[in-house]
Structures are given as C-alpha cells and as structure tokens.
Symmetry: D2
Subunit: 263 residues, 4 copies
C-alpha cells in the first residue's frame, strides 16, 4: 500500500516524533524525487499486527517528513514461488508467482529497506525468499552495462523478541551489497529485548518505542539513506568504468583505448 | 610499508594485468588525492608468503594504475593488545600496544580494504582483533559531530583454501558499515578452491591467479571503491543532518529550528 | 518418498560405493530399528534434478547399507505456510498448510539430516521455513517433561556452486542444537566448487562425485549419526534431571528432595 | 586456576542457587571422574571483572555441586601466538607461545565450555584465536585413529551488553562439532540486555542475575553436558567404524572385511 496514514497508532515516543518532524523541516536538500520501498518481511499477513512495522514506522516518518514517496509492503501477503527464475509461473513447477510484481517496485525505487523479524536468531524465511528472488535478477544490466542494482541504496530495520539484529543485518546488508547496492553508514537499526522471552516491540511495557538507541539509530539510518541516494542521483551514479561485465568478458582492450568508449 | 614494488612476483594473469593497466589509462577522473589502506589480516608474519596478499595484489594494481596512494600492512606484524581502550598500554593490563599507530593510518585513509584469510570458515583472529580495536574508537566524532568514520569507503578481499568468502565478508562489511563506513557495490572479492584440502591461491596449479571471476570481481571492487570515494570527497561527504549524536542527545529542537544550524 | 531405488543414477565414485558397502557389512552394531529422515531443502520441485540430492545419496547409501529406514523428501514439494503456529490452516491467514504432515515424520525419526542448497552464501528459504516451523513446536515436551526434540540426532549435508557450506551449517546445526537435538562429531558435509560460477555437483566434469573429501566426510557424518543415535537409544537418552522446564518453573525444591522424583 | 571459591561474590539469584544445590544432591549418577574446562574468552585480563564469568558461575556451580573437577581460565592472560602450528615458538615468527599449555588442558578435559563476551555482535578475538589454535591440532588422532577431539562434549556461555548470543554460539558450536566434539541439547546460554548501550551482566541493576531464562538455560546446559559426557564415557565413546581417516585413505577394504579389524 502507498503510505498515507499509519495502520495502527504511531508508537514512537513523543520526543522522537518531534525530532523527526524538526529535521524534515530543516533538511539540507529536497528529496521529493526519491522513491523508498520498504519490504517488511514479517511472517504475519495483513492485517495482523507486525512489531517490525512498529520500528519501521520511525524510518517511514523520516521519509514522509521530507516528502519522499514511501511504500511499505509485506511480501508474506503475496504468493512468491521458490526458485531463481524471473517468473516461476513460466515453469512447470509453479502455477502462480507474484514475485515479478514486487521486483518491478524494487526496480523503480532509489532506496530499499529490507526489513525482517527475528526467529531463532535468524532473518525470516520470507526475507530469505526475497533475497533469493532478487538474486535471480542479477544477470540483468542497466543502460550502461553495469549490474542493474547499481545506484540503489540499501538498509535494514529489524525487530525481535530477543537477540539477532546484527546477525540478520550482516546477511541482509551483505546480500544487497553483493548484488550492487550501496550501503550507507549505520544501515542497520532495530529493537530486541533482554535475553529470554518477553514482550515484543509494540506490546505494552516493552520499552521499545521509548528506546532512545532504537529511535536514534533508525532516524540516522533513514537520513543516511536519503543523503546517499541524493548524492548518487545528483552525481549520476557510478561511472561505467572498471565495473562493466561485458567489457571485461570482451577483454576490453580496444574499447578502453578508444576514447569514444570512455565512461 | 608504503607500496613500491611487489614483495613477490605478481601472480595475476597476463590478461588481467593488461585490463587493469588499460582501465587506469582511460580513467574518467583523477584519484591521485585518494589514500588507500589495505590491512592484510593474514596469520603469517612478514616476510612469510601470504596467499591473501596474492589476491590483494589485483586490487593494489588497480589503485597503483591511477596513482592513488596505497599502503599494505599486516597487523600480525604488530603487537596489538586486546581490549576496547584507545591505547591499552595506558592500562595496568598491557605494557605495550601498537594499535594507535595503525589507527592513525586508518584515520587518514579514504578507502579501507580489510582483508583476511579464512580458517574454519571464519575470518582470522587478527581481523577480529582489528575490528574490536576500531570499535573502541567509535565514540569519536568528526568536525561536524558525526561518527568519525563517516565518509570513508570500506571493502574486503579474502582468500582461503576452501569455503568462507561470503561468511567472512558478511561480518567485515557489516562491522564497517555499522561504525560509519559506506560500502560500495560488490565490495567483497576473493578466492577459495573446491571443497576439501588443496592448493592455496599462490601455490602452483591452484588455478587462483587464472580465475576470471576472482580477477574480475577484485578489479570491480577496487574501481567501485575509487568511484565512491571520489563521489564522497567531491560532494563533501554526508551532510551533518539527521545523523549527529550530540544534537539527538540534546533533543535538538532549538538547533534544528535555528537556520544557522542547518548543515 | 520411502527410499527404494535412486531417482537418478548413483553418482558417487566406485571406490566410495565400495567402502560404504564394506562398512555396512562389518558394522559393530545393528541399526535396523533406527529411522532416518532426510529433508532436502532444495528449491527444485520433484522431479527436477537436485544436486544436493547427489551429495545426500552418499549418506543415504550408508544408512541403506545397515538397513536403517531412510526417507528423503523435499519440503519444496509441499505447501508450507509462514508462521509459528502448529497448523497455520487453523488461522485466518492461511487456507492450507502441509507442515503438520512433515512434522509428524520429524517426530518419529531418530536422525534428522536437514540439507540445503546454497544461494548467495546462505541456506535456502525452504530450509529457513522448515526451521521456523520446527521452532513453533518447541514448547512441546516429551513424556519426561523435557523439550520434545531431546534424544534426536541432527546433521546437515549441503551443496552449492561455490562457497557457503560452513556458513549454512553453522546456522542449521545451531538451530537443531538449540531446540534439543544432539550434534555428533563432524556433522556437516557437502560439496562446493572453486570461487565463481561453474558446474554444480551432478553436472558432467564438476569433480564433485570424485571429491574424496566430500565422500569421506559425508560417510563419516552418516556413521557418527548412527553411532550417536544407537548410544542415545541404548542408554535411554538424557536423564530428566536438570533439564525439565516445568520443574524449574515450579522452583523444583520439593520434587528434587523427594527421592521418588529422582529421574 | 582450579576452582575453589568465587573470585567475586556469586551473583546468581538466591532461588537459582538453591535449585542448583538441590539438583546436585539428587543427581542420577556420579560425575566426580569428569573434568570440565571453562575457557572464558573475555578481553579483560585477571584480576579485572569479567561479566561473562558472572554467567559462567552458574554453570560452574552446577559442576561443583556434583563434584566434577572444574577449571576456569582466561586465555587473554596468556601469550598466544597467531598461526596454525602446534607450538609457534618453534617458528621464526614467534619467540614465545603459551598455547601448548592450554591445549594440554583441553586434551585432558571431558567437557569444554568455550565462552565469550560479545563485541559488535561477534565473539571476541581471543575466542577466535583459541579456535584457530585448536584447529591446528585437528590432524592428530586418538588411539583408535579417530580425530583426537572425538568423545569430548562442547558448549558455550556468552555475555554481552546487547545482541549476539546466537550469532556467536552458531560459530563456536559449529567449530567444536566440525573438529570432533559432540554438542548436547541447548548447548548455548547467556545474557544480553535490550538493544542499545546499558548495564552489563554484573553491573548493579542489569537484571542479569535475576533473569530466569539465563539462569535456567545455563543450568540446563551444564546438566546436559554432564549427562552426555557420562554417556560417552560409560559407553566407550564412538566406535572406530566409518570414521577413521587412515582406513578411508587406505581404501579400507581389507581391513573391513577382516573380522579382527572390527571396531
């Protein structure tokens, strides 16, 4: 769904909301041309409550405060086939595959937040599936011949009952970087409670929404995504030099020595 | 040591060397103001052969081809104390600590390649120690009040006998991002052989130096580091907006509403 | 499917097959009462070729050589809902859920091999889903009041194009141990090729089936599973002492001081 | 140091201590012949306070309650060289190496707890170094020709300020299993606080020592180690069948068909 109003009452603390609002008003640049896609890889289908969406809402509020287009969706609401094909419904294995619809949204975004809940210390199977499907598109190149995810900014917001933000972030940020995304400073944020069972983020008394560290880091994360996406867009992205697979494969000597082929 | 000549014969394939040279000659920008620090976290002290340095030499040749200053050093040659202090020799626990010398080099670089060999599928203990010590400096801020690693570019080159590049890269790239580095596209490269014991990268018959995938990815990695560092330097780095700890801690309302405090 | 004949020609080397056969004939004990379940978490649905099943066949041959009942199935052939419930079809979110059928097979096995292919250095989303669903049953206890997976033996066999056996094994073996499985020595085995794209295990010329390290480790893995399962069954498993949640929650003083409650 | 009295006041809750004591009194077997080695891979040298030792003390109390010999030591107190050699002081690289002294203690123990503090979500560099050095001994075999760690039980206790128990446990338990250890059920336990900076385990008001989940899991861990070590010792460990490298390498046909060579 295109973001308009929160599906449930905003849970970030009053002070955090005020800071977010203030920062949006005094932003050093305009970000209204940027598109943000937030994939919330919770295991809970809409309209069930997602604690992860509670933490995500902090980042979403930053994006909203500067007028960047921001869409949040839950891949678990879709029927996403297993496999590495572009559209698995074209195979004998699967009769339906909603993935191409999500991939199209990814292809159009400037900033991707790949978010997850934590189970057994690990990212969700939905998040794992999303990464597999994105990986299936990595042979594609952009108009310059670079891998087609070049120029996008990636980050992650995570929530769990206990323990696992960094472990999940390691894999998610690595995967995004490996396929072409640029990762800004402090690109992981989230909330988990003390070791052992206990309340989740949006549960009464969790302390999550009042956690200054979570509020601050999620806010910093969103701003660093905005700053980096702005920079990549304004400078034209990565020069197509030293990073074009087809030129490498061709031995690239003639091309490179020919001034017309300079990036 | 400041790089001048390779400590052992260059092992990259002839074709790879030619491509690297060609790309340097036709570069879209100048990079002579950039400083590259390569920490080779091998377990072997100089002058022992380091297979990891074999793969590193590909990236080093890219940096050399465009005249970027490039220093390679092995932290295992130094006496680095355990702990999170700035200088552990100031504590009762340790009489000596060479870390501050390495940290100073890190503080001056634009691009950091944190490289490792793989043991039991894991980065080396030397690499682990380096990350701990860097973590001990993360309370420091730059002139703008941002965490002091903001604006630096990080990547990793890895070599092992078998299996583990991606696992090590996940942790290394995450750690760098978490403390403020920006991670460019395809920031991990390396070589490992087939499952099981076998020759290491620089051993005769390993196939490593002829591995096109390793040659290409390491070259792309180096170029993406150069492009991103160029971009960050030319645009002035991350605006100090939405990512300044002291302003967050202060509630930041007054500052932010005051136009003079705009970043 | 209950194992009877290989779905495709056995690819293990002649020498490996002979060793496996010999070992079965001279086994130090009988294993015909043991049930082995092999979950092959490939992304390919039956009857597509699964390279992972190629490596699995080595372990399967060991189990078959001693007459242990061995079933291999691919969870991707089933419709497994996301979530932590026992049967997600009982929720409003999902209309169907095949998981309980698989869980029943898990509950009846003595040895579980949770196997996966590797994508982006990570276990498959199918494997991730299996672990989540198993985790959803961990509040259950056995007749002694211990967590209900106590007494089972867990291991993993992995295959990929390149790089990632150990990373995947870390998570799979940890998850199994965390919920109550016992992990025998050398409980991970598999095959991956050299860094970069290349043939998969069952592709002509991969070198996989001839890889002595893979053959040996997979054989050792299977035998260590047999030895440990034998030992756990013969000794009656873990005494219900110091590991019973309900007694801990009750403070357990009276129980423990009462000789009748001794395990 | 051989354990006699705690180096600092026992911090486990009164209720936990009572349960531990009660369980020791009603144990289903005798464990006085078992040797437990606890390597506390804190970064703090003795006599500095180690929060990890706070959590470790719960397990230690279990071992002490049944009279198992239990030694705790901090590898950071030793001068452990980098490398994979048995004794690196025999190389030109290092003049001293205390590792062989620790390895000897490992070789004599039945149960090894490899414990760590958490930094940046990762195990300590000291723990990483310990695993590397243990790995350097894995070519050794026992009297039966099996890898020499066969028959030992491994587990881990972890403490950190926030987030990372499971990530560290994944690697530690995997590494131990990979080299021959058997991992009992629920072999990881520890304490971390809520996301963000905050008190460490032994700091006033941390809530750590009162955390029922940590107390319970650490107690269960210790008991499962005792039960499994008892079982392995009483049954004579793993039969030397299907898991002996030299026999595999020899093709093993003659040996296996000769009844005298049955394990």
């Amino acid at each position: 769904m295109q973001y308009s109003a929160p599906a449930y009452p905003l849970m970030t603390s009053q002070r955090c909301s005020e800071i977010i609002l203030s920062l949006g008003e005094t932003a050093p640049s305009s970000y209204t041309d940027l598109k943000v896609l937030i994939l919330n890889c919770t295991l809970n289908r809409t309209p069930l409550l997602s604690h992860t969406e509670g933490v995500i809402s902090i980042a979403r509020d930053v994006f909203a405060s500067v007028g960047a287009a921001c869409e949040i969706l839950r891949p678990v609401d879709y029927d996403i086939a297993a496999g590495l094909g572009l559209d698995m419904s074209q195979t004998a294995e699967w009769t339906n595959d909603d993935w191409p619809e999500i991939q199209e949204k990814i292809d159009q975004c400037d900033i991707l937040l790949l978010c997850t809940s934590v189970w057994l210390g690990e990212k969700s199977s939905v998040c794992n599936r999303v990464l597999e499907r994105m990986y299936g598109y990595t042979h594609k190149v952009n108009a310059r011949g670079q891998y087609h995810d070049y120029g996008k900014v990636g980050a992650t917001v995570i929530s769990g009952n206990e323990d696992g933000i960094k472990h999940c972030a390691m894999n998610i940020l690595f995967s995004l970087s490996h396929i072409g995304y640029t990762i800004p400073p402090q690109a992981d944020a989230g909330w988990v409670g003390e070791a052992g069972p206990g309340p989740s983020y949006l549960d009464p008394g969790s302390g999550g929404p009042e956690n200054e560290f979570t509020n601050r880091n999620t806010t910093f994360l969103a701003w660093n995504c905005l700053h980096l996406a702005r920079m990549l867009k304004d400078t034209g992205g990565y020069p197509a030099h030293g990073n074009v697979p087809s030129r490498w494969d061709a031995g690239c000597h003639q091309d490179l020595l020919n001034p017309e082929h300079r990036a």
